[in-house]
């Protein structure tokens, strides 16, 4: 029956199928979306990412509660004061519970206006949550970036590994739209996963923190931005990682390289920081370090990039990798 249908079409005339004609970016986008959703491991990995991020945040919330309770105990011993718990925690043991916490954070040392705000606001309510508390929703990003970076590499490099890329570039021989669509999809998905996981974390962390009378609300200074920027961080990191995967065209090599740049380089910089100031100066501009500033909900330490600067630096990394990968791929044989 189908043979009969095709044979009726005079091949010399215009396309036979009246439904749709040529390639358009929206169509390529749809195609890439179908690809993402029809390989089961992708969907599973995304679900795992959300779970792990929420789990980590719940752990961070729990750790903050422990810290607050300890501080409260100490506070009652020295000078009993009702509302001091929230502020006391980070002052007592700075940065101990959450790895992302900025060490200099503390109510007593306002370095600029933002720090002043965090000291007292929330009209009529309990004392404002410290940045430690406010960053609990985004604390899962530490592990989330590992999974999202791997996923971004796998999504693109597996096309080379399986040969699928030949089908992809046969259908979209200009290549750029296919790569842009892939990047757009991984960016949007990563944003939704990041911001979504951070918001779920927020909902999960609230009752946990509440058990120690620590309050956390979307209205708190920087909380909403931190939740949304968890998504921004992962989206930009995903584009960065997809660029690596596209350039290397190899899943294992791409994942190792991405993890190396995201996790190992900052560690190396920390180990070597005594060799010279320039090392820690440069380390601030590493993708993950710059990106970490995005999810900050408190004061920026002196010399650190601000939230906006951090975002711009990570964005620049992502843009460079995206453009390089497109330029290189257009020239390559596949």
């Amino acid at each position: 029956m189908s043979t009969a249908t095709t044979s009726k079409n005079p091949p010399e005339s215009a396309p036979a199928d009246p439904t749709g004609s040529g390639v358009s970016f929206l169509r390529v986008l749809k195609s890439e979306w179908i690809k993402v959703t029809t390989v089961p491991s992708t969907v599973i990995l995304l679900a795992v990412t959300v779970l792990v991020m929420v789990g980590l945040a719940a752990g961070a919330a729990w750790g903050t509660v422990q810290l607050a309770n300890e501080a409260a105990d100490r506070a009652t011993q020295s000078a009993p004061s009702a509302g001091a718990t929230a502020e006391a925690a980070p002052t007592a043991v700075p940065g101990a519970a959450v790895p992302t916490a900025v060490p200099t954070e503390g109510a007593g040392v306002p370095t600029d206006g933002a720090a002043g705000d965090s000291a007292d606001d929330s009209p009529g309510g309990p004392p404002a949550a410290s940045s430690l508390v406010r960053e609990v929703p985004s604390s899962g990003v530490l592990f989330g970036q590992l999974l999202i970076a791997s996923l971004a590499v796998v999504l693109v490099a597996s096309e080379w590994g399986t040969g699928m890329i030949r089908s992809t570039f046969s259908a979209v021989p200009k290549r750029t739209p296919a790569l842009l669509a892939k990047n757009l999809i991984i960016a949007v998905v990563s944003f939704i996963v990041g911001a979504g996981a951070a918001f779920i974390s927020f909902l999960v962390a609230r009752p946990i923190l509440g058990s120690a009378d620590l309050s956390l609300s979307l209205g708190d200074d920087g909380v909403l931005a931190s939740i949304l920027n968890t998504g921004t961080f992962l989206a930009l990191l995903a584009v960065f990682s997809m660029g690596i995967g596209t350039l290397l065209r190899n899943t294992a090599g791409g994942v190792v390289t991405a993890i190396g740049v995201i996790f190992v380089l900052p560690l190396v910089a920390t180990i070597l920081q005594n060799l010279g100031d320039w090392i820690s100066d440069a380390a601030r501009f590493l993708p993950s370090n710059a990106g970490a500033q995005l999810v900050m909900a408190g004061t920026t330490a002196e010399g650190d990039l601000t939230q906006l600067q951090g975002g711009l630096v990570l964005g620049a990394w992502a843009a460079v990798l995206l453009i390089t990968s497109i330029v290189v791929t257009k020239k390559r044989d596949v």
């Binding site: 199928d17 004609s21 179908i34 399986t162 046969s170 020239k331």
Partner: protein, 313 residues
């Protein structure tokens, strides 16, 4: 319609395709024949823009592949059996590719039916046999109902029934007026499928002619003649365009003269002919003659080829 002009591809210092010029016409099946490593696949990949030519250009239906608005509607290509993510189902693979051109479900189901993929369409491609993988590749090629089809070794891994199916499909597509370009290293397959042959060896075109002409060895007839007076017969028929080779004192091979012509010459000079056998060269013979010396990995130690056959340029 495919037109290649001075098309070349080098990988490092190795030349895969050496500046070839050819055209593939619509309405017939054109076979692309050559030994392994001759440059067939590279040429086909360049046609659809997967490999970037080092020099020269190739146009399909009047324009470079990548500049078509709807490439899949112009050219359908089966390049490799596996250009598919193994964990995706056949149906979803087709759906993803169809989406780029806004090709609807109806057409997807049509090609699934046409290629006999129905029972396995919802299965992961990773579990497919090689034959099923080939059918899926052909389904992708047919998806856009294109005017030009390129099949790289389509019968690889197919069972005899599948081989016959590909043959009928190719002939049917050509009969509809489409351009069909099929590569193979199997001469026997090309002999029954193709109307026109392009023979390639070491990246260069060795022959580009209708099938009968290639088989006939450039149009020259060939007869084996045995006669007690072979020398006299050779002198009698020797003229322009006729080549006589003496195999034995009483045995000749005559090229370029019909059996009837030889018989008439012998009769007029009253020479006794004891055997006169017109020889049809098989495609295989023609192919061996053409590609001799062009095979990249010739088996060593076998000394039989090439004694009689002159080396073609």
């Amino acid at each position: 319609m495919i037109e290649a002009h001075g098309l070349a591809k080098r990988f490092g210092d190795k030349t895969a395709v050496d500046g070839i010029t050819f055209s593939v016409q619509p309405g017939k099946v054109t076979g692309f024949l050559g030994p392994n490593g001759a440059g067939k696949s590279t040429t086909m990949r360049m046609i659809v823009g997967l490999d970037r030519p080092t020099a020269g250009s190739v146009r399909v239906n009047g324009a470079p592949y990548a500049s078509h608005k709807a490439p899949l509607r112009e050219v359908g290509a089966l390049l490799e059996a596996r250009a598919v993510h193994p964990r995706r189902t056949a149906y979803n693979h087709l759906r993803a590719l169809a989406a780029t051109h806004g090709i609807g479900k109806k057409r997807i189901n049509q090609v699934i039916e046409q290629t006999g993929l129905g029972p396995v369409a919802k299965k992961r491609v990773g579990s497919f046999s090689m034959g099923m993988g080939q059918r899926l590749g052909i389904a992708v090629a047919l998806l856009g109902d294109p005017r030009t089809l390129i099949f790289d070794e389509p019968v690889n891994g197919l069972d005899p029934e599948g081989v016959q199916w590909v043959r009928h499909l190719a002939r049917g597509l050509a009969a509809e007026g489409r351009t069909v370009f099929i590569s193979s290293h199997l001469m026997s397959e090309m002999a029954v499928t193709a109307d026109h042959l392009i023979v390639i060896g070491r990246g260069r075109i060795l022959a580009d002619a209708p099938m009968e002409q290639v088989i006939a060895g450039g149009g020259r007839e060939r007869s084996l003649v045995r006669s007690d007076d072979a020398a006299a017969l050779a002198a009698a028929i020797g003229s322009d365009g006729v080549e006589v080779r003496r195999l034995a004192p009483d045995q000749l091979v005559v090229l370029g003269l019909s059996a009837r012509g030889i018989a008439e010459a012998a009769l007029s000079r009253r020479i006794l002919v004891t055997e006169l056998t017109p020889q049809t060269t098989s495609l295989e013979d023609a192919y061996m003659e053409l590609t001799h010396g062009e095979v990249e990995y010739e088996s060593q130690g076998i000394e039989q080829g090439g004694k009689e056959t002159p080396n073609h340029p």
